[in-house]
Symmetry: C5
Subunit: 355 residues, 5 copies
Amino acid sequence: MTPYVHPHSKKAGMPPGMFIHVGVKRTEGTILELFSYDSGTVREHSSADADEIISLVNPAAVNWINVSGLSQTETVGRLCEHFGVHPLTIEDILNTGQRPKIEDHEGYLFISLKMLYPDESGGKILYEQVSLILSDHLVITFQEEAKNDVFDQLRERIRTAKGRIRGQGPDYLAYSIIDAVVDQYYVVLERIGERIEAVEELLVQNPTRETLGDIHSLKNEMLLLRRFIWPLREVIAFLERAETDLITDGMMIYFRDVYDHTIQVIDTTELYRDIISGMLDTYLSSLSNRMNEVMKVLTVFASIFIPLTFIVGIYGMNFDYMPELRWHWGYPALWVVMLAVVVSMFVYFRKKRWI
Amino acid sequence: MTPYVHPHSKKAGMPPGMFIHVGVKRTEGTILELFSYDSGTVREHSSADADEIISLVNPAAVNWINVSGLSQTETVGRLCEHFGVHPLTIEDILNTGQRPKIEDHEGYLFISLKMLYPDESGGKILYEQVSLILSDHLVITFQEEAKNDVFDQLRERIRTAKGRIRGQGPDYLAYSIIDAVVDQYYVVLERIGERIEAVEELLVQNPTRETLGDIHSLKNEMLLLRRFIWPLREVIAFLERAETDLITDGMMIYFRDVYDHTIQVIDTTELYRDIISGMLDTYLSSLSNRMNEVMKVLTVFASIFIPLTFIVGIYGMNFDYMPELRWHWGYPALWVVMLAVVVSMFVYFRKKRWI
Amino acid sequence: MTPYVHPHSKKAGMPPGMFIHVGVKRTEGTILELFSYDSGTVREHSSADADEIISLVNPAAVNWINVSGLSQTETVGRLCEHFGVHPLTIEDILNTGQRPKIEDHEGYLFISLKMLYPDESGGKILYEQVSLILSDHLVITFQEEAKNDVFDQLRERIRTAKGRIRGQGPDYLAYSIIDAVVDQYYVVLERIGERIEAVEELLVQNPTRETLGDIHSLKNEMLLLRRFIWPLREVIAFLERAETDLITDGMMIYFRDVYDHTIQVIDTTELYRDIISGMLDTYLSSLSNRMNEVMKVLTVFASIFIPLTFIVGIYGMNFDYMPELRWHWGYPALWVVMLAVVVSMFVYFRKKRWI
Amino acid sequence: MTPYVHPHSKKAGMPPGMFIHVGVKRTEGTILELFSYDSGTVREHSSADADEIISLVNPAAVNWINVSGLSQTETVGRLCEHFGVHPLTIEDILNTGQRPKIEDHEGYLFISLKMLYPDESGGKILYEQVSLILSDHLVITFQEEAKNDVFDQLRERIRTAKGRIRGQGPDYLAYSIIDAVVDQYYVVLERIGERIEAVEELLVQNPTRETLGDIHSLKNEMLLLRRFIWPLREVIAFLERAETDLITDGMMIYFRDVYDHTIQVIDTTELYRDIISGMLDTYLSSLSNRMNEVMKVLTVFASIFIPLTFIVGIYGMNFDYMPELRWHWGYPALWVVMLAVVVSMFVYFRKKRWI
Amino acid sequence: MTPYVHPHSKKAGMPPGMFIHVGVKRTEGTILELFSYDSGTVREHSSADADEIISLVNPAAVNWINVSGLSQTETVGRLCEHFGVHPLTIEDILNTGQRPKIEDHEGYLFISLKMLYPDESGGKILYEQVSLILSDHLVITFQEEAKNDVFDQLRERIRTAKGRIRGQGPDYLAYSIIDAVVDQYYVVLERIGERIEAVEELLVQNPTRETLGDIHSLKNEMLLLRRFIWPLREVIAFLERAETDLITDGMMIYFRDVYDHTIQVIDTTELYRDIISGMLDTYLSSLSNRMNEVMKVLTVFASIFIPLTFIVGIYGMNFDYMPELRWHWGYPALWVVMLAVVVSMFVYFRKKRWI
């Protein structure tokens, strides 16, 4: 299987509306967490049973159901169907190869995002699909894994009524979730920035074949990143325009803030791409530079010793009549000649700045 | 004949409305298959005679006529003319060098697509033109070959009333056909993804002249692919906007889904192009790297042995007065000198990291 | 004079409305041909006298005046002025360095196109400016040369009433002329496609300096071609929108067909450009590849013989005390040593895959 | 920490509206300067206490509060809150990683700019964030450092009533501040222009590895610069359209002037980028050129001496029967032969233009 | 001072509306020429005194004041102020680093253009700023130098009433001036076209380091040229739309003509850029080609003589027991062996097509 394209193909030919989890099965179970709060009270409940959670939803409060793990497709389907989610939307939630997008359905807004976080060990970027359903008094989020703690600070803010979240509606909750996801992008970009710096240092000092590999893996990672970040802009621009009743006008200023962050993230991504492609040029010219250096050493060596070897060859000849061979000072005189050749060569190469 | 441009030229100068099959004649005959169904019943009929099929069309049901093979132009012409298809549209159906497009004619919608499928043996992409006429109670599809089984699953769904297709109108049928074609693109992209991975592995291990050929053939295939995929976006965007009476408003959500798939396919195509062009850079720098290595070996060899050869040349000279030659320890001493030269060379090249 | 820019400069500073033929004078005379036809009758007349032709124009029929050769500027001026053509339009007709364009004047539509045809001998693309005036009951076309037969099939269709041209108005005639010009582009593109294939074959087999020249001349030809083809799109898009009374609404479908052809031609042009620029990359990497090969041969030769030459140099020395020289098996033993050196070298280079 | 991306990440997960200074803490304190003027009078006051400054604001005059240093977030917060600035705007003021932007809030206009100035010692570009709040009778500016004197000339003009500033409203003051910031960009671009010229001279004379480093640092600086200059265009275009009541229609002509300057700055930036990328090409081809030169020297030396060495080797052989060795004129004759070899080599290489 | 950016910086911090001539002072004085004409009469007057010229302006006729030389800023200021020109416009006239632009002020239209002409001696492009004020009955033009004769033909046409200029209003005069400026661009492009051809010929024959310099100077000149030509399009598009009362509707067709010329000029500029960047590729591949050739010569020489030198080295050894040395035909036999080596080498290299 290729790492670049999602194996959507296994659904080829199926009728729309079949709920199949397309993606790597990351966790076994599917856990649902419910937060039900208003300015005064907050209630938390966690269960693997969709109906249990559904029964606890309080239409008078703001409800946040977070679904971790998508392998139990019936649980996901049961939950979605109860809240009137269209089968095609459920398919999109279960198929984790989505492009970030927003869809305005009757009665709810569907948002699909990518959550990025750096792989702590290897430095690679990991990504996970986050789907969000925003309706009248409810926000449902779907994650592939539960272990990620991007939402932990948000949960804490709801519990402790920190900031203004408790007094606001579900649109503010949706904003807070999206903001948390986008803030995470900065973390990822900083890690990439650090790797770029590390490779730049290597490039200056001693570029090797591994450096080329590093540049290319950075480049390919940026290609993947762009794919997830660019569509995000449209998603949040839609939210900023608040073209749906589900988002109150007062939220516009908040979504404009997230929009600004997204633009900054895009800007930085493009900057990194330009820097990385500049690094490739540097690598190639440093290769040429080194070749030049090797060639100069060879040329200097060969050009100095080849004439000398010729000279000593002359006096190794066995002609009967070679007067120089008989001279008493012939041998020392030859040394003088050879020294002169070496010196003049040195002067020549020094003038050409090869030594 | 060039593989890149279709020999449209043989029609140059002809009046519009002459029905000539422009393209490679792939199959001899032309076979028409009729599916006539509503939620309750389904009837199938297959024939080579247009009039027979026309007589079986049931205006009260959804009718799907699939035409396989375009060589019998009179059959195609007869069928189209009966259903009021414009001569220029018939020309477009018969000329298999079309760009994907959609045309809103009076009484029907004409859609031209490319169906892609991987060549099972050689790994190349094959493509075939699929034309689709959508009218009031009828969908007609035209394929170049019958042997392809992309529509088989769809036929099965109609027969067995799987999914909701039997209760829907001809617009849903058209959607299902287009969806099947687009789903096939994922299959093709996955094959290309596999080939990209194979070439990337070769690039890392031992890039040869064949690797370059592979990269270029991948690149040219992506160029062809893009040509078929980009116009598809406009086609499906038109369908999504449902600007014609032939498509009911309820279909919008389905076509938006296909539109999303098309965008994903385009995204992946662009990603692949970037990756392939990065592979070319890698190939070129790996060539430079190898040249560097060759040059270093030559330089190390030459630089070590050229001075030694000079030294032994000196004592091969035949001067009458060369005191060293008479010394008893001259020969072993020379070995020591030469060893010293070799060692210092080694140290020098090691310092330069050439060895 | 440069081949790339038209010597418009000789008009610099002149007042607008001076009729000067700017361009290479291709034919001496200027010949006018009149076709005057309706569904029933067709009359043909040919003359070098503008007034004679003007007197024969039948306002009740469709009239097509084809002007071949632009050197008799007074004839052209006389004809145009009689039909109320603006002096600036006449200037544009006479100046053959126009960019394809369409202008909606009062009482007439002015279209300037480039007609392309392959040079039969050398394979180069030749181009000729075709201007078209479409008014109420009249189409006037202006060609630089008469020898070209692109319009011959069209004339034949008018004479023999083949197709539907005889029953249609001047807008259909204008469409037929433009269609004939655009169809000719396919012919040119096929020739270029053939040349691209020939160069690609050369590239694979034995790329030489001439191959590079071929690639560059292909590239520059594509640059010129694009310059003529891209503006064509806007011209025909204007006609398709039928924003003028001179074009009846029923023509829309025909111009959409030409528009599709134009888009296909543009598509193919862009595809060719990408392929040609890929050929340059292949050429450069094949150069690098060959350099690598040359270097390997040199390195293998030098690295094998340089140590051997050193060894035989040792035993060419004239030291008094060199015990090896006295050994009876010294000489054969040396051969064994040298053979061992050669073999180990071979093994080394084979391991490096240089041999 | 990477120099490219701002460590926005330390805010990840926090609720909106927390005032934290994100950026390098450049100065310890926070100083507020108030200018309160109308056509007749001008009053200046400086303090570190927000309330003191607030009490001195004269609603009947034009008031300019300049805040230098952002480390005392409470002072900044207190000032902003008093004038009804939204918490998200305050966050943007304190977070110095903003992209240039303009926001139309209720009651005020918020503008975020980058001020650039050349580093006097090293030639690098330094940048500082300038935020501007424009409301009814008030302009508040926020700078990261106080030491910069870009606004000094403006202060002088207010004090001495030079130009027309004293008779105008706060929108003219805002314009003057923005104009001063944009004018500074010219200074920075001139410095970069000088550095480009210096590098170009080096490139012509003697390009070294340091030259490559210079080109790349220029390139990366232009990448950063673009990031700050491009968004500026939208900011000033917004002002030029004067879509808010805070800007009087008469200001349009002034903002159009600043807009023109911005376009010129963008133009020059793009020109520089193209020139710098051309320099990279020159560098690479000069490397190739030099390699060619080195190779020619080696080839000339080797090709002249290798045959000579072979010739003298022949007559160093110890065959018993070598008639040439016995000839009296053998040795001088050999010199003649060798001279002939050298001369013919010279002629050959001269013909190839290698010497 | 850099040649790329105009030293706008010396105005940094100044209040708007200070009249300072920013640019190279090209001529000492400032001369004003007045043409006052209608269909019947024409009057010419020349003076250095603004008031004298002002007093001669005839409101009933078309007046053209041409100002040559901008160093006398007071004269320019006096003239402009009398005709109600805004101080910011006067600044733009005096600052010769403007980007081509058009501004619709109350009572007048301000146009800033670049006039290009080839440097007669060196082949470089010179440029000069031309500003144009079009008001009710008046056109004022500002040139940096008087020596240029671009307007001479226009003056002659006014004097001799050639063409239709004398019967038309100031908008036709403005059109004639702009037309003269744009026509001059063709002259400049033809010169560049000639230089491109010359360099292309050099590239084919014998590319040297100077050729690279020529390509780069052509490239940089095209970069500058583009900067002046692209904005021109918007300027003339504005005039074509005739959105101001100062331009009568009948002028539309004339400005469309100039617009077409501008598009042609832009087209040619882009074509030249593509050709020039193709020349760089050719240069680099010709460098690689030549390196290949050098390497082949070296390899052929070395590979032929190194084995021979080894062979003669063998028989230069002084072993006591070397039977070959004693053979009578040893020496001639060796020559045969060596000849065989040379011949087989030749065959080998011929097969590899190196000779």
